[in-house]
C-alpha cells in the first residue's frame, strides 16, 4: 500500500523535474540554506516534521546570552552521550572561555564548540536543510545557535539494536558462530575484525529517495578486480528507487540475467563467508537494515560450497561437495527420471522391481506424471506452510503432512508408495543445497523437467537438460562466465571446485575473479612435512 503511494509521488516528481516548487514532495524543504534566526530554524524543523513527537528539541543558553538548541530523534540518538559530552560542555562554556572575551559572536562560539568542546569523533558542520534532516533522522544530534546560519551535527548514534547472534541459515558444525545484524556499522565492524588489513576499503552511498538507506561497497584493494568494483559502483549509482528494504531489492536491480531462475548474486549472513569472498577478490555489498550481505561476482559453483568445506579436513570437504553435486542432480531430476522410466522405459528396471512397482500402482487412478505433479505441489504447499507458520503450530503441520501424504494418500490408493519415496527423497536432497537462492531455482526447474519427462520420456529430459546447460553457459555474473571454472575450463582452479584440495595446494586466488596482478595466496612449501631426524624419540627409551 504505502510503497505504491510513494512510487506515485516519485513519478510525479520525475515528471516535474526542473520545476523547483513541486520538488518539496520529497526534498525536505524548499529553502536550501539554514536561517540565522534560531526561532525560525526551530519552527521550520517542527513544521517540516509535522510536529512529530519523537523529535526532541532542547533549548539552552551558551555563554550567558546566546540561545542554542540541541535537536535529536528520540530512540535513534544516545541521550547519555549527548548530555555528557555535548550539552554539559556547552553549559559550562560560560565559565571558561567567555570570561576572556566580552562580546563573542555566535560564529566564534560555534568554532569553539566544534574545536574544543565536543569530545568525541564524528562532528561536522551542516549548512543546508537536506543534510540536516538526513543526519538528524539517522541518529545524529544537531546543535543550532542563534544568529548563525550553520549547525553542528554530532554523531550520537545509539538506541536499540539487535545484537550479534548465531546465523539461522548456513549453519555449520565447526566454524564461527556469529552472523550479521541489521546494522551496517556492526556488519562492517564484524568484517574489519576478521580482515585487519588497510587494504579493506569501504565506500558508502545512500540509495532510496525515501528510505535513505546506507549501502556499503567493501572490497580488498589490490585483490579485487578494479573493473568489477567499478561495475558495481556504476550499477549501484544507476538505481533510482523510493525504498530499499532488504538487499534483495539491490540484488534484483543489479543482477546480470533478468530472465533466469539462477541467482547471479550471492547472499549470506555469515561474516566468515563474506570475508572468504573478499579474500578471493569478490565485492561485498552491505545494506543497512538487513543481515544479508551480497557478494559479487559469483559462479554456480559458489552456491554449492559451504564455509565448513574449508574448516573441516579436505577429504571430508571434497566428499561433501561431491555429495552436494549429486544432491543437486537428484533434486533436479529424480522425479522426472522416475516418471520417464515408469512411463516410457520400463525395460530399464529389473524385472522383479518393475513387477513390484506395477503391483503398487494398481488402482492408482492417475498416470505417473499427474501423480508426481500432485505430490510435488502438495509438498510445496506443506513446505511453504511450515515456513510461515508460527513455530508452535509447525509441528502440527509436519505431523499432518506426514500422515496425510505419507500414510493416508497411499492407503486411499491415490498415490503409489514409490512416488512418496521419490518425492520425499527429492525434497530432502533439495535441502542439501547450501544456498537457498539456488535451491529455489532447482525447485522451479523440477516442474518443467517433470512435464517434459511425462510427454517425451528420457528424450524430453535430455532436451530440457540441453536447454538448461545452454542457459547456464550463457549467464555471466559481472562479466564472469557462470560455469567457471568448468566451462571455460581452468585446470589449476579445479583444486577448489568439485573437490576441495588441502590448504597447501590451493596456492592461488581464482584468476577469473581476482585482479590477476598478484594471485599468490601463500608461501612455497606450505605442505607440512614430517620432522627430520630421530623419529623414535618418544617411543620410549
Amino acid at each position: 500500500m504505502f510503497s505504491t503511494y510513494l512510487k506515485g509521488k516519485i513519478k510525479k516528481k520525475k515528471a516535474s523535474r526542473g520545476e523547483s516548487q513541486e520538488k518539496q514532495d520529497l526534498q525536505p524543504f524548499k529553502e536550501k540554506k539554514l536561517f540565522e534566526d534560531l526561532k525560525r530554524n526551530i519552527e521550520t524543523v517542527k513544521t517540516e516534521l509535522g510536529h512529530s513527537n519523537d523529535i526532541v528539541i532542547r533549548e539552552f543558553r551558551v555563554g550567558g546570552n546566546i540561545q542554542a538548541a540541541a535537536l535529536f530523534t528520540d530512540g535513534l540518538s544516545d541521550q547519555v552521550t549527548l548530555s555528557d559530552f555535548v550539552i554539559k560542555g556547552l553549559m559550562h562554556l560560560q565559565d571558561e572561555a567567555l570570561s576572556l572575551e566580552q562580546n563573542i559572536g555566535p560564529e566564534k562560539i560555534m568554532q569553539i564548540v566544534k574545536e574544543q568542546l565536543i569530545t568525541f569523533g564524528d562532528v561536522q558542520e551542516v549548512s543546508d536543510w537536506e543534510q540536516l534532516f538526513k543526519r538528524m533522522l539517522s541518529g545524529s544530534s544537531i546543535l543550532l545557535f542563534d544568529g548563525c546560519d550553520k549547525a553542528i551535527s554530532a554523531a550520537t548514534k545509539g538506541g536499540e539494536q539487535r545484537g550479534v547472534t548465531e546465523p539461522s541459515t548456513q549453519t555449520v558444525i565447526r566454524g564461527p558462530r556469529e552472523a550479521f545484524t541489521e546494522s551496517i556499522r556492526i556488519n562492517t565492524s564484524l568484517l574489519r575484525r576478521i580482515i585487519k588489513s588497510p587494504k579493506l576499503w569501504l565506500e558508502e552511498r545512500t540509495i532510496g529517495e525515501v528510505t535513505q538507506t546506507q549501502v556499503g561497497i567493501m572490497y580488498l584493494k589490490g585483490i579485487a578486480n578494479e573493473e568489477i568494483v567499478q561495475e558495481v559502483r556504476d550499477r549501484l549509482d544507476r538505481i533510482q528507487i523510493d525504498a530499499i528494504l532488504e538487499s534483495g531489492y539491490i540484488e534484483e536491480l543489479i543482477q546480470d540475467e533478468i530472465w533466469s531462475p539462477f541467482p547471479t548474486v550471492y547472499n549470506t549472513e555469515r561474516p566468515d563467508v563474506t570475508a572468504g569472498g573478499l579474500l578471493e577478490g569478490r565485492v561485498a555489498i552491505i545494506v543497512d537494515g538487513t543481515p544479508f550481505v551480497l557478494l559479487v561476482p559469483v559462479v554456480l559453483n559458489s552456491f554449492l560450497q559451504s564455509a565448513e568445506d574449508y574448516y573441516q579436513r579436505f577429504d571430508l570437504g571434497s566428499f561433501l561437495r561431491l555429495l552436494r553435486f549429486a544432491s543437486l542432480f537428484v533434486a533436479l531430476l529424480f522425479p522426472s527420471l522416475y516418471v520417464a522410466i515408469t512411463t516410457f522405459h520400463q525395460e530399464m528396471l529389473p524385472t522383479s522391481l518393475m513387477l513390484h512397482l506395477s503391483a503398487q500402482r494398481e488402482g492408482v487412478p492417475f498416470p505417473p506424471i499427474i501423480e508426481a505433479l500432485l505430490m510435488e505441489i502438495v509438498f510445496e504447499v506443506l513446505r511453504e506452510a511450515g515456513v510461515r507458520m508460527p513455530s508452535a503450530v509447525g509441528n502440527t503441520i509436519s505431523i499432518v503432512g506426514a500422515l496425510v501424504i505419507g500414510q493416508a494418500a497411499v492407503e486411499a490408493g491415490i498415490v503409489a508408495p514409490a512416488m512418496v519415496i521419490v518425492v520425499s527423497f527429492t525434497a530432502i536432497a533439495n535441502f542439501v543445497i547450501p544456498a537457498i537462492s539456488l535451491a529455489i531455482a532447482v525447485r522451479l526447474l523440477r516442474f518443467g523437467l517433470l512435464i517434459l519427462s511425462g510427454t517425451l520420456g528420457m528424450f524430453g529430459v535430455a532436451v530440457g537438460l540441453l536447454v538448461l546447460v545452454l542457459h547456464l553457459a550463457s549467464i555471466r555474473s559481472f562479466g564472469i562466465p557462470y560455469l567457471s571454472p568448468f566451462a571455460p575450463f581452468m585446470r589449476n582452479q579445479q583444486r577448489d571446485a568439485l573437490f576441495r584440495f588441502p590448504q597447501w595446494a590451493m596456492d592461488t586466488r581464482p584468476p577469473f575473479i581476482s585482479d590477476d596482478e598478484d594471485l599468490v595466496r601463500q608461501g612455497n612449501n606450505q605442505k607440512p612435512e614430517k620432522p627430520q631426524g630421530d623419529q623414535s624419540r618418544h617411543d620410549g627409551e
Binding site: G460, H471, A487
Partner: protein, 363 residues
C-alpha cells in the same frame, strides 16, 4: 563484427571431437563393417592418415587468411560473384547437413526410444535447444560442449568397462585375411561422413584464441575422435559379431543392450543414447550456427540471428524430405554422399588455396 565471442583452444578441440563423433559414431559402424567386415576398425585407423592430410589443408588455408572465415576470403579469392556462389553452395551444404543430422537423430529416437511419437514432433523438440544455442552464439555452444564432454567420456568408459565380459576377441579374427584392400574400401564412406563435414570449422577458426596452435589441437582432437571411433567399431564387432553389427542400424545402441550387471543394471541403452544426443546436439548446433553465420557474412548482415527462425523451419522441412528410410540413408552414405561431401570439404578448399597462391593473395 557479427560474432564477438572468442573460444579457447580446448573448447575448439572439444567441439571438433564432438562434431566428428556426432551422428557418425551411431550410424557408421554398421556401414563400415558391412564393407570391411571384421577389419572395420582398421579402416577407422586408416582414416587417421586422411584426417592429418585434411587438417593440414584446412589449417594452411586458414593460416593464409587469418581472422577471416572461408566465406569472406572465398569472395576475395574468386571475385565477388563466383565467391557469392561458393558462399551459397556452402550455406546450402550446412543446412542440408543439419537436416540430415536432425533426421538421423529423429530416426534414432523414433525407432529405438519413443516408437509411438511422430518424427516431426521429435525434430521440433530437438530444434528448440539448437535454435537457442545458435541464438546464444558460438561461445555458449563451445562452453556447452565443454560441459558435456566429461559426461561423454564417463558414460563411454563405463559402457566399455561393463561390456568387457561380453567381448569375444574371436569375432575380430582373422585380422587382415585379404591384405589391406578390404579396410581401405571401408575408408570410403568415412571420407564424406564425417571427415569432409569438418570443413565447417573453417568458419569457426577465426574466433579461436591462440591461432598458432590450431593445427595441433585440430589434429589432436580429430585423431582422438577417430581413435574413439575405432574403439567403438572394434567393440561392437567383438560384442555383436560381424553379421549383427552390419545388419543393425544403430549398432552402438544394440551393443549397449548387452550390458547386464548382476541382473539389476541392465537395458541401460537409454543412458548410452544420451551420449549421441549430446554429440549430435553439438554437431547440429555448430552446423546450423555456421549456416546462419555464413549467410550473415555473405550478405554483410549486421547480425547472424536474422535468419535463425527461417532456417530452423527450412531444416525441419528438409529433414522430413531428406530420405525415406534408414536403408536409403545407409545407401546414400556409402555411395553418393562421400563424393558430394568431398566436393565441399576437399575440392573447393583446395581450389581456393591454389587460386589464392596463383593470384598471390594474402590475408
Amino acid at each position: 563484427m557479427i560474432e564477438n565471442g572468442k573460444i579457447s583452444l580446448l573448447q575448439f578441440g572439444i567441439a571438433v571431437y564432438m562434431f566428428a563423433l556426432g551422428s557418425t559414431a551411431l550410424l557408421a559402424p554398421s556401414i563400415i563393417v558391412s564393407i570391411a567386415k571384421q577389419d572395420g576398425w582398421i579402416s577407422v585407423i586408416f582414416c587417421m592418415l586422411v584426417i592429418v592430410a585434411f587438417v593440414s589443408l584446412w589449417s594452411r588455408l586458414s593460416k593464409r587468411y587469418p581472422g577471416q572465415s572461408m566465406i569472406q576470403y572465398g569472395e576475395r579469392i574468386l571475385g565477388t560473384w563466383p565467391g557469392k556462389l561458393v558462399g551459397l553452395i556452402y550455406i546450402w551444404y550446412f543446412l542440408y547437413l543439419s537436416s540430415l543430422v536432425l533426421r538421423n537423430l529423429g530416426d534414432f529416437i523414433t525407432t529405438s526410444v519413443l516408437s509411438q511419437t511422430p518424427i516431426q514432433f521429435v525434430h521440433i523438440m530437438f530444434m528448440i535447444p539448437v535454435l537457442y544455442g545458435a541464438y546464444l552464439g558460438l561461445e555458449v555452444i563451445a562452453r556447452t560442449g565443454e560441459v558435456l564432454f566429461p559426461w561423454i567420456l564417463v558414460i563411454f568408459s563405463v559402457t566399455i568397462l561393463l561390456l568387457l565380459k561380453n567381448i569375444d576377441p574371436g569375432q575380430v579374427l582373422p585380422i587382415l585375411p585379404d591384405g589391406l584392400l578390404m579396410p581401405l574400401k571401408g575408408v570410403y564412406p568415412l571420407l564424406g561422413f564425417p571427415i569432409s563435414e569438418l570443413v565447417v570449422f573453417l568458419l569457426v577458426i577465426p574466433f579461436v584464441k591462440g591461432q598458432n596452435k590450431i593445427k595441433k589441437y585440430f589434429n589432436l582432437y580429430f585423431l582422438l575422435a577417430a581413435a574413439t571411433g575405432a574403439c567403438i567399431v572394434f567393440i561392437s564387432i567383438s560384442v555383436l559379431g560381424v553379421d549383427v553389427t552390419a545388419r543393425s542400424t544403430f549398432s552402438v545402441f544394440d551393443m549397449a543392450k548387452e550390458i547386464n550387471v548382476g541382473n539389476f543394471f541392465e537395458r541401460v541403452e537409454v543412458l548410452v543414447g544420451g551420449i549421441w544426443m549430446m554429440t549430435i546436439f553439438v554437431k547440429l548446433s555448430i552446423c546450423f550456427y555456421a549456416a546462419n553465420l555464413a549467410t550473415a557474412q555473405l550478405f554483410n548482415l549486421r547480425s547472424y540471428r536474422v535468419t535463425l527462425l527461417p532456417f530452423g523451419m527450412f531444416v525441419l522441412a528438409l529433414s522430413i524430405l531428406g530420405y525415406k528410410n534408414t536403408a536409403e540413408s545407409a545407401w546414400f552414405i556409402t555411395t553418393a554422399y562421400p563424393i558430394y561431401s568431398l566436393f565441399h570439404g576437399l575440392v573447393i578448399p583446395a581450389l581456393l588455396l591454389m587460386i589464392g597462391k596463383l593470384r598471390r593473395l594474402k590475408g
